[in-house]
């Protein structure tokens, strides 16, 4: 680690992993509620568990992105952060605000939480993924602005690289598009239309810039491939991301009251959305194959390659599966959507944050470049357990979704929703079992931070053996 201020990344990464554990616990609760409908009812109804599950995901990924930025920006810019103190202050503000929000979800009825936080003054609550009280949303804006100031001034006053400029573009976009969460008209169609400007333009737009930037940084560091080559790839990948992804928003405008021409725009452009993900896979494998050195941190390289593959499968292939309007007519709002959501978020965003943590954490904990061999083996077990189980979660949900679409929407005698849910319960059970394997993988992953800490660091030679 070359710069002292990179250290502020560490609490961000620790918080990210902690909240990740919470996210998965509530995922298991929801999975069980799918097959045991009265589980924890009425204390923790499904909607509360879901809010906690999805909001923790968003918050921990944001922690991860911010930690990644604080770690890589000084190194790229070749200077200390403008204000490490501000970064730490924002860490605590964000963590406390986030924790209070989750406590609010769990211990107060949602409508009471809305009253307590003055939702009537500026109603923004009660929309999917944007359930946070308005005051929490304002807090997110403050944290984002302070973060952008810190990162932005460091980048602009230091060495400017493609990686930092792309990262800054992505993070600025993240902050700007979040502002649409404050627009909540009475008109349901307009509400939904601009809601996607947050959700879609985040995950299929600006977040991919952040993903590309972090992935490029880790690949430069671990493979030693010439920066010029990597930066050229990065530009082409993110160009394809935005060229396909912006108009690709149209795949959300098929059935919400918007004009029918969106079925054409959405189908054509989102059918091309897998292209940048495929390029990312080719890119990552190419760079690793052309590496100029072997890096002793093997899990970091594994996570980087894993990100490229799983993002392509989850976001690319599973997205394409149901993105064409004639298909989506039957699959819209079924378990197919859930299947895609799980693998895409894990493959693209969970894995890129874990890639960065895997790369940076050894240095943040005082190692030269890598953990001990034993710790690395345990971490890679965590990788495989989580990754294989998310594949199975996705496959089971896909099976459930196909049956659901058929029984409820395509057969000669369409059945009611709850009747269909009972018929496909087997797949929900299988998904829950895969979920249990996932949390075992997560526990193994967390354990890797405590295993072999006193043992000597792995070198390229020992890592080869």
């Amino acid at each position: 680690m070359q710069y002292q201020s990179q250290r502020v990344a560490k609490p961000y990464f620790i918080a990210a992993i902690g909240l990740f554990v919470g996210q998965i616990l509530f995922g298991l609760v929801m999975g069980l509620q799918y097959v045991m409908g009265d589980f924890l009812f009425p204390e923790i109804p499904f909607n509360v568990a879901r809010m906690v599950h999805t909001n923790l995901l968003i918050v921990w990924l944001l922690f991860g992105f911010m930690g990644a930025a604080y770690y890589l920006v000084p190194e790229e810019s070749e200077r200390e952060l403008v204000s490490p103190g501000l970064a730490l202050a924002m860490f605590w503000i964000f963590l406390i605000a986030g924790a209070l929000t989750i406590v609010g979800y769990l211990f107060v009825p949602y409508s009471t939480l809305a009253d307590m936080t003055g939702n009537d003054i500026l109603p923004t609550m009660g929309r999917e993924f944007l359930e946070q009280p308005t005051i929490t949303k304002l807090g997110i804006v403050v944290v984002a602005l302070a973060f952008l100031y810190n990162i932005g001034f460091t980048i602009l006053s230091g060495r400017k690289t493609v990686i930092t400029l792309v990262l800054l573009t992505g993070l600025t976009g993240l902050a700007v598009f979040f502002l649409f969460s404050f627009y909540n008209p009475d008109n349901l169609v307009k509400d939904k239309f601009y809601w996607w400007w947050v959700v879609h333009l985040w995950v299929e737009g600006v977040w991919e810039l952040i993903l590309g930037s972090i992935l490029s940084f880790v690949l430069i560091k671990t493979t030693g491939v010439d920066r010029e080559v990597i930066e050229k790839w990065l530009y082409v990948i993110i160009a394809m991301t935005l060229i396909t992804g912006i108009i690709g928003t149209g795949h959300h405008y098929y059935w919400i009251g918007t004009p029918e021409y969106w079925q054409w725009w959405g189908s054509i452009f989102s059918a091309m959305e897998p292209i940048p993900f495929f390029m990312m896979t080719v890119f990552a494998f190419n760079m690793v194959n052309r590496r100029r050195r072997n890096h002793p941190n093997k899990p970091a390289v594994l996570w980087a390659l894993g990100t490229a593959v799983m993002a392509f499968l989850g976001a690319g292939v599973w997205g394409f599966l149901h993105t064409l309007a004639p298909v989506n007519y039957y699959t819209h709002g079924t378990q197919i959507t859930a299947a895609h959501g799980h693998m895409a978020f894990y493959g693209a965003y969970v894995m890129i944050v874990l890639t960065m943590i895997s790369y940076a954490m050894p240095m943040l904990r005082g190692r030269e470049a890598a953990n001990s061999g034993r710790s690395q083996v345990v971490e890679m077990w965590g990788f495989w357990l989580m990754t294989v189980s998310i594949v199975f979660i996705t496959l089971f949900l896909t099976a459930a979704g196909i049956l659901q679409a058929y029984l409820q929407r395509m057969s000669e005698t369409p059945l009611p929703f709850m009747v269909v849910q009972d018929k496909i319960a087997l797949f929900y059970w299988l998904r829950e079992i895969a979920g249990v394997v996932f949390i075992i993988g997560l526990i193994v992953y967390v354990a890797s931070f405590f295993v072999g800490s006193r043992e000597p660091e792995a070198t390229v030679n020992t890592a080869e053996a």
Partner: protein, 157 residues
């Protein structure tokens, strides 16, 4: 063809100097800007087409109150509305048509058991007033009359 060319340039160990980083950067900035402007143009067009589709003439104060209640109780956390939301409970964009009347909707919401149903999913009892029930039902009726390309495929949602 352009695409083949790009791929060709990117492939292999020796990246062709014909395709430079500056060109890649220009494609990124130019492409993103162009498609974002196109997106804004389509948005503008959509806004002008919406009055004939989004059933805005039906948005009364009561409907607005219903939407506020819908949000305040996080209905989207279990249900879908026009296919968006959670997949734990039935689609409600067409519930007015499925149930046949606002009275049936109100009766269903009112009749939910406080402690749930053993072993099964059950909607919580929200203890809405009659005025609130009317508002929620009116909101769901308004939603069901949005012109949305005949989705869902059938009454089951």
């Amino acid at each position: 063809m352009k695409w083949d060319h790009l791929n060709h340039c990117l492939k292999g160990a020796t990246m062709s100097q014909a395709f430079t980083k500056a060109m890649a950067r220009n494609i990124f900035y130019g492409g993103s800007l162009f498609f974002f402007l196109l997106f804004l143009a389509l948005t503008f067009d959509t806004e002008s087409a919406l009055p004939d589709r989004d059933n805005r003439q039906a948005i009364t104060e009561q409907v607005a109150m219903g939407k506020a209640l819908w949000e305040k109780n996080d209905c989207i956390g279990c249900h879908t509305l026009l296919g968006e939301g959670a997949y734990f409970a039935p689609e409600l964009g067409n519930v007015y048509k499925r149930f046949g009347s606002t009275d049936a909707i109100k009766a269903f919401i009112k009749g939910r058991p406080k402690d749930g149903i053993p072993g099964r999913r059950s909607m919580p009892q929200f203890n809405f007033s009659d005025e609130e029930l009317d508002a929620i039902a009116a909101f769901l009726k308004y939603a069901s009359e949005i012109s949305n390309a005949n989705w869902p495929p059938n009454i089951q949602g």
